[in-house]
Amino acid sequence: MIEQNIPFLSLKKITKMYPGTVALRDVDIDFYKGEVVALVGENGAGKSTLVKILAGVIEPTKGEIILNGKAVKLGNPKVAVELGISALHQELSLCDNLSVVQNLFLGNEEKRIKLIPNVSRMKETAMNYLKMFDVEFSPSVPLKNLSSIQREIVQICQALIRNSQFILFDEPTAAMEEMDVEKLFRIIRDLKSKGKTILYVSHKLSEVIEIADRAVILKNGMKTGELKKSEFDIDKIVRLMAGRDVEVIKKYSSEPMNSQDEIVLKVEHLTTEIVKDISFDLKKGEILGFAGLIGSGRSETIRAILGLDPTKKAGEIYLYGKKVIIKNPYDAIKKGISYLPEERKSLGIFPTLDIEYNLSISSIRNNSYFGLIPSRFKIRKLAESYKDSLKANIPSLSGSVGTLSGGNQQKVLLARCLSTDPNILILDEPTRGVDVETKSEIYELMKNIVKRGKSIIMISSELDEVVNMSDRIIVMHEGKIFKILENRSRNIPKEDIVALMSGVEEVKL
């Protein structure tokens, strides 16, 4: 609590725009010496963008970063490090093939004469730093032998050696055991008492409440709240994280859908390397929501059903009561199942193909002569019809798909899924990274699809979406189905799902 009045580092009206979307809008945050600030928000709220800006990986479109009273420009990570800002990523900033000491001094070696590294001195320094955290490994072991808490310590030492004053922890506990988390918190408190400023980014609210002095909540790229330690309260934070614009809530489907009793898809005892003993069924005209933390096995379940990686080891799949084997997505499409993958950029878009080919590629054979020679006319007609029905703002169908906004790209991919006329639509994060308006349009579309007697499986990290759209909700935890909830009246409290997602059973439902 030193110099509490003058911020060590301030962000002033930080805005980051990407073509078509705004990742951060007018974010102001002050950081003081000797405090731990937590940054929380749903996926896509802008946390990682903010971390990247502070680490110098990307530059803000607008706004100022003020360090010790002076406006600075963090053009690249090296500049950020020189100014005393170190970002600790889980995987990125360490080299597995080098030893601990080599990693600690990477790019910052102590040298005897120009080129020859002073190994013994570096080792000594490394020992001194590592001793501070009472660790039991030698600085010359290769990094790949270390556990994730040990890696975290190496990164912290690296930051200290560089004399960083501002240390960013980006999801440090994602792959950590309970015990190690405690240890990490001891270290963070220690750093705090040394007057360092710490930014702690995490999904896990219980951790935030335990470690942070202050929490900044982001939502849709905007700061929706800032709470002091005395005001911490899970409900309050969740509400700030998830609070919606009033308009959009109205557009959600709160009217219960009448899903019928006919079962279209039945999965029994599905098991892969990641998921265990998954059994569920999907009814005609139903939206079945999948909730769970990242890594809980939601997407992996779906990919196993579709015959993608990780491959199915055991289990049966029934379509309309008949046992089927789905070999690959092509097979799935033939059997009336369409799949919208989760990562639009890496799993969905073909950046070098035209928009209309991106849209029609799943159904291109049906729009070709003899199923072989694509008919530009038919493809254009198909694309035009979806462009109109999905209200996509596409200036030229033969343009590059990269010029479209995230929302319009998503519409192209949705059209791709619909163009094969599926009975079952599997949507993995259907509204990730799209703007608010497109979101409600996608919800509208989903409602129309189920009204026509088709079924939808929706995986989503946005709890609002899960609660307001699904007829039933499957909550997954650590590769298993933890609970299946009836949600016809759309009234399951989000807090209960949050608890179930993190494996807590005792919720008063």
Binding site: P19, G20, V22, R25, E247, L308, N328, P329, Y330, D331, A332, I333, Y339, P341, S346, L347, G348, I349, F350, P351, T352, L353, Y357, I361, S362, I364, R365, S368, G371, L372, I373, P374, N393, P395, S396, S398, G399, T403, S405, R416, D435, V436, E437
Partner: protein, 342 residues
């Protein structure tokens, strides 16, 4: 609320800007801005230059020689286009070795084993395709980078050719076989006729076919291709088979032209093939390519080679100069693609 309005205004502005960019995207302006076009201009310039420097350029004999050479490089380039476009950093470095091996093998089959030329040719083409099958399966099933497998095949096939012949050319090929490399139809060399047939097939599959779109889709984003149900394993394998098949075909044509199976041809073939493909607009990162461009690119390599001969530069220098031109052209193209990305 006001924010949403602001945002939609922003969107309208961007979409207008995009629309503007698209005004005038007629077929002609599209063609003028393509890599094929600039390559074609370069080719024409080279030809005009050579014609001025040496009027003998347009003699029937010279044009026939050039045609034969063009056919060779263009066949290699067509194979490379397919392999490079399917992406994953794939190139086929084995072509020269496969060509040498198939030339030696076809000659030995005919001369040493009295096989009929037709049977020998079919057999050798099958064997050549087998190498491609191996490259494809190694990439798709074993995840071995094609760079390594094809380089390995280059060494193996070159080595095998030396072993089989003990380093000596296989002589004594019958005229009926030599015709593949030497006969002319209406003054057009047989190899050019073969090229035209292959090129039409390749252009059909690459530019006017569902599979062409699948090839480009795999090169653009292999994961997405899998997700939409494209059979990545099979299509990648097929491209390697086709490329190796063309390598074998070139080997047969060369053996027929020389009238003997030489074990030491082809050390530069893969480079010429890749260079012709890339000069013609095929991106080394995959997903983008053009058979037309490859045909023009192969023409450029032949034109440079011929220009050097025509202006009297010692043939010993040919490879030095070709090497420089190829690396410069490819670097230029890589730079161009990078600029387009930003």
């Amino acid at each position: 609320m006001s924010e949403n309005i602001n945002k939609s205004e922003e969107l309208i502005v961007t979409s207008k800007a995009i629309e503007k960019n698209h005004v005038g995207t007629s077929k002609i302006s599209h063609f003028v801005r393509s890599t094929e076009f600039s390559t074609l201009i370069a080719l024409i310039a080279l030809i005009v230059f050579t014609m001025i420097m040496n009027p003998r350029f347009i003699s029937v004999y010279n044009l026939q020689t050039l045609g034969q050479q063009w056919a060779m490089y263009a066949l290699l380039a067509i194979g490379e286009v397919f392999v490079i476009v399917i992406g994953g950093g794939a190139v086929d470095l084995s072509l020269g070795g496969i060509a040498a091996f198939s030339g030696v093998l076809v000659s030995m089959f005919i001369v040493n084993y009295n096989m009929s030329p037709l049977l020998a040719v079919i057999l050798v083409l099958l064997i050549s395709s087998g190498w491609g099958l191996w490259h494809g399966l190694a990439m798709t099933k074993l995840n071995v980078p094609p760079f390594i497998t094809t380089l390995g095949t280059f060494a193996i096939t070159t080595g095998l050719s030396e072993v089989l012949t003990k380093g000596w050319p296989v002589v004594g090929l019958p005229n009926s076989f030599d015709a593949i490399g030497t006969a002319n139809f209406l003054e057009i060399p047989a190899s050019v006729v073969i090229l035209i047939i292959i090129a039409i097939i390749a252009i059909f599959f690459f530019h006017y076919n569902v599979y062409g779109i699948y090839f480009k889709a795999i090169g653009a984003n292999v994961e997405a291709a899998r997700n939409v149900g494209i059979n990545v394993v099979w299509l990648r394998t097929i491209t390697f088979i086709f490329s190796a098949f063309l390598g074998g075909l070139v080997g047969i044509i060369v053996a027929a032209r020389l009238g003997e199976g030489q074990p030491d041809i082809g050390s530069m073939y893969a480079l010429y093939g890749i260079a012709a493909a890339v000069m013609g607009g095929t991106a080394l990162t995959g997903g983008i390519g053009s058979i037309y461009g490859a045909l023009i690119g192969a023409g450029i390599i032949v034109a440079i080679w011929n220009a050097l001969v025509m202006i009297g530069i010692s043939s010993l220098w040919t490879n030095v100069i070709l090497g420089i031109v190829i690396v410069a052209a490819v670097s230029f193209d890589v730079l161009r693609h990078r600029k387009n990305k930003i």
